[in-house]
Subunit: 193 residues, 2 copies
């Protein structure tokens, strides 16, 4: 049930069984069905979600109604609108399930308590966010310096499990492209091989 969560934590900070026992009561298992919202624009993002199973997307909707996907998250990752989470402001993002999911929800109160009571929990979140930061920087770099073909190849190589599980038009959205452009880029990649 919580195995994957503690497995991930143990990769970065070694927990004693006592520490695990301190953490467990703060965790909340939640199942969401495909297409269901975990967070809706306008609501406060009151929890961080750890993905035990399934795949979600976080996206913003612009004036013209286009969905701009900021991130995907699958097993072993966290997802949340951190801005709303920390400030308490209504979120500008939506998060919904691309597949049926099992999530561990950790609400802000729980998280704050954990940070104070279990230093390794704070360390774990720090290292996780640092990792996310590094990935985001790489993404920005590749957006400003690489061709669409290169970017798609990079993405497929780095996140093969996501490419396989997500419709292509969502990957186009994540890359900041129209579905047509991504389709043509893929064609060029295939024929050039």
């Amino acid at each position: 049930m919580y195995e994957l969560f503690f497995e991930e934590m143990n990769k970065l900070v070694q927990l004693t069984t006592q520490e695990q026992e301190m953490i467990t009561p703060y965790l909340n298992l939640k199942k969401v069905r495909k297409k269901q919202y975990v967070l809706q624009e306008g609501d406060w993002c009151a929890s961080v979600a750890f993905i035990v199973k399934g795949l979600l997307r976080q996206y913003a909707v612009d004036e013209s109604g286009n969905e701009n996907i900021i991130q995907f998250a699958a097993e072993g990752w966290f997802i949340a609108d951190l801005y709303s989470y920390f400030t308490g402001d209504p979120s500008t993002y939506n998060i919904d399930a691309v597949e049926d999911c099992e999530l561990i929800m950790i609400d802000k109160k729980a998280s704050d308590a954990l940070m104070d009571q279990v230093p390794k929990y704070e360390r774990f979140t720090r290292l996780q966010i640092t990792r996310a930061n590094i990935a985001l920087q790489k993404r920005v770099i590749s957006m400003i310096s690489s061709s669409v073909e290169e970017r798609y190849l990079d993405f497929s190589k780095r996140y093969p499990h996501i490419v396989q599980r997500v419709p292509q038009h969502m990957i186009a959205s994540y890359m900041g492209l129209t579905p047509e452009t991504l389709s043509r880029a893929r064609k060029r990649i295939i024929t050039k091989k």
Copy 2:
């Protein structure tokens, strides 16, 4: 000398004078002149730099020799190649001074020691990275969903002090544009007003 650093820390975590005294010995003041490197591609990023005064840029150089700027950092911010810092791998980025700078360098050993000895230091860095994360996500969103004009206006509004202190072609690089394109976008903005 270290006032700004502790001021920034106190905004997020209230330090006792005792805690400040524990931290101070780990800090190292360093001055760098305009155009000087703080980190060069191929070297290990052994420290995180806090900017007391001045302005720096972090960038990657691609095969064709173009400089792609990932971030600027001015007073009150941190800068480092976190990937290299954590893994020990040679950095793929350069960091250099856009203006003469005064920096507080905190090397990895010092930082690791501080994390263990002063929990508030770890909390501070966690909150800082979280903040950087939120900003990076906003940047990605605006890159995939907004026009060049909008993005430039956003940037000028959010970082007016940077726009004023950095040559325009560097902002173009940061935005993933050629200098010509940014120049024309600015012209459109001015004439439309």
